[in-house]
């Protein structure tokens, strides 16, 4: 065991080895490690982002649902209103129609009555004349009393 200049030579060699390792071996290894760490970090961040997106989307869908519900309620209320309006309109229309029908039939009935009265008047006059003729045949001349008969007829 003797210390000599060999130690200097070996130190130089070792220094070169360390330099080489620092320069060419270590950086790619560290780069690989950093790349790996970066990938994992990115993946975790993406997962976190996905989770947040999901929460946001859930909130949005809930909002949309509420909005739709409100809109539906509004539509229902509107249609309810419209329905009562339509019913009211129909009721009024029907009433008018009924009034019209009633008025028409009333006037028809009146006409019918008039017509019946007219024909009755004719028939009564005839009957009266016939009756009077039978009563008076024996003693009274029909022609002499025609003036009287005509006045009776107008009174009927």
């Amino acid at each position: 065991m003797n210390i000599n200049a060999t130690i200097i030579g070996q130190a130089i060699t070792f220094a070169i080895l360390i330099w080489f390792t620092m320069k060419f071996v270590w950086p790619p290894l560290v780069a690989a490690l950093e790349e790996r760490a970066r990938k994992i970090a990115d993946g975790l961040a993406a997962a976190e982002r996905g989770k947040q997106d999901l929460v946001l989307a859930e909130r949005r869908s809930e909002e949309a649902l509420n909005e739709a519900k409100a809109k539906a309620a509004e539509i229902i209320a509107l249609s309810e209103k419209r329905r009562s309006e339509i019913i009211e309109e129909a009721r009024l229309e029907a009433k008018a129609e009924a009034d019209r029908v009633i008025a028409q039939s009333k006037s028809e009935v009146e006409q019918e009555v008039m017509r019946a009265k007219e024909s009755l008047r004719d028939r009564v006059a005839d009957l009266a004349v016939a009756g009077a003729e039978k009563i008076l045949r024996r003693e009274i001349n029909a022609q002499a009393h025609s003036e009287l008969l005509a006045s009776i007829r107008t009174e009927l």
Binding site: M1, I3, A5, T6, I7, I8, G9, Q10, A11, I12, T13, F14, I16, L17, F20, T21, V25, L29, V30, A32, L33, E34, R36, A37, I40, A41, L44
Partner: protein, 256 residues
């Protein structure tokens, strides 16, 4: 080169290739191998355990990301190669890869650094790289060898395993040859595993020692490229040991 210079050169090499030993005969312990491998093993296990304890499922720090990448690399190798219930194979492969890697990495320290520091404390022999000790590589490969048999018998039961040994690949009529082939095949596995790692690391260490014998102002010319090249070697050897272990255990799991 003079006689004394030659002596000191061979002394230097010899010195560097001598383990710190304790004991006699077979019952000798290479203390440097045991202590270095145990310390580095504990260090790495401690580091991984610490990272695992405070691991977050969020964005990982650099250390956690590094451990994760090693873990995923081993895991994907096991999944690609090993079919069925991998059980202990994943942890085994991870242990082998990381341990062999850190033990090999001791090779990158200057060959004189650790012996010199310990020399100052009166320790006169110290081989810093445990994987240049065949005791260590064989210990690992023999463990794998026993696991191969354990998995063979676990997967096929003893009868199925003996049937395979005696009938593959030539059929039942050639049973003795099948047995012989099987013995060679199975023995070649731990031997090749251990010797490949040991040979590579020993040769690398040897070259470092020889480079250290050059004049100090010339050492970096060869030393620096060899050290840089060695970054590749140590990783590759750790990877090969791991992947071959997975393959052997997967073969043990499947029938021929």
């Amino acid at each position: 080169m003079s006689e004394s210079a030659g002596n000191s050169t061979s002394e230097y090499i010899h010195h560097h290739l001598t383990n710190l030993q304790d004991g006699h005969g077979f019952w000798t312990f290479n203390l440097d191998t045991l202590i270095t491998s145990a310390l580095l093993g504990l260090l790495v296990v401690g580091l991984f355990a610490w990272v695992a304890r405070k691991a977050t499922s969020g964005v990982p720090g650099k250390l956690q990301a590094a451990v994760e990448m090693i873990f995923e690399m081993v895991q994907s190798q096991v999944r690609d190669t090993f079919h069925g219930d991998s059980g202990a194979v994943g942890p085994l492969a991870l242990t082998i890869f990381v341990w062999v890697f850190v033990l090999n990495a001791m090779d990158l320290l200057p060959v004189d650094l650790v012996p010199m520091i310990l020399g100052a404390f009166g320790v006169h022999h110290w081989k810093a790289v445990p994987t240049t000790d065949p005791n260590h590589t064989f210990a690992m490969s023999l463990t794998v060898f026993f696991l191969i048999y354990f998995y063979n018998i676990k997967a096929k039961k003893f009868g199925g395993f003996m049937h395979e040994v005696l009938t593959a690949p030539f059929g039942p009529k050639m049973a003795p040859f099948n047995l012989l082939f099987r013995l060679i095949e199975d023995l070649a596995k731990p031997v090749s595993l251990a010797l490949r790692l040991f040979g590579n690391m020993y040769a690398g260490e040897m070259v470092f020692i020889l480079i250290a014998l050059l004049p100090f102002y010339l050492q970096w010319v060869l030393g620096a490229p060899w050290a840089i090249f060695h970054i590749l070697i140590i990783t590759l050897q750790a990877f090969i040991f791991m992947i071959l272990t997975i393959i052997y255990l997967s073969m043990a799991h499947e029938s021929h």
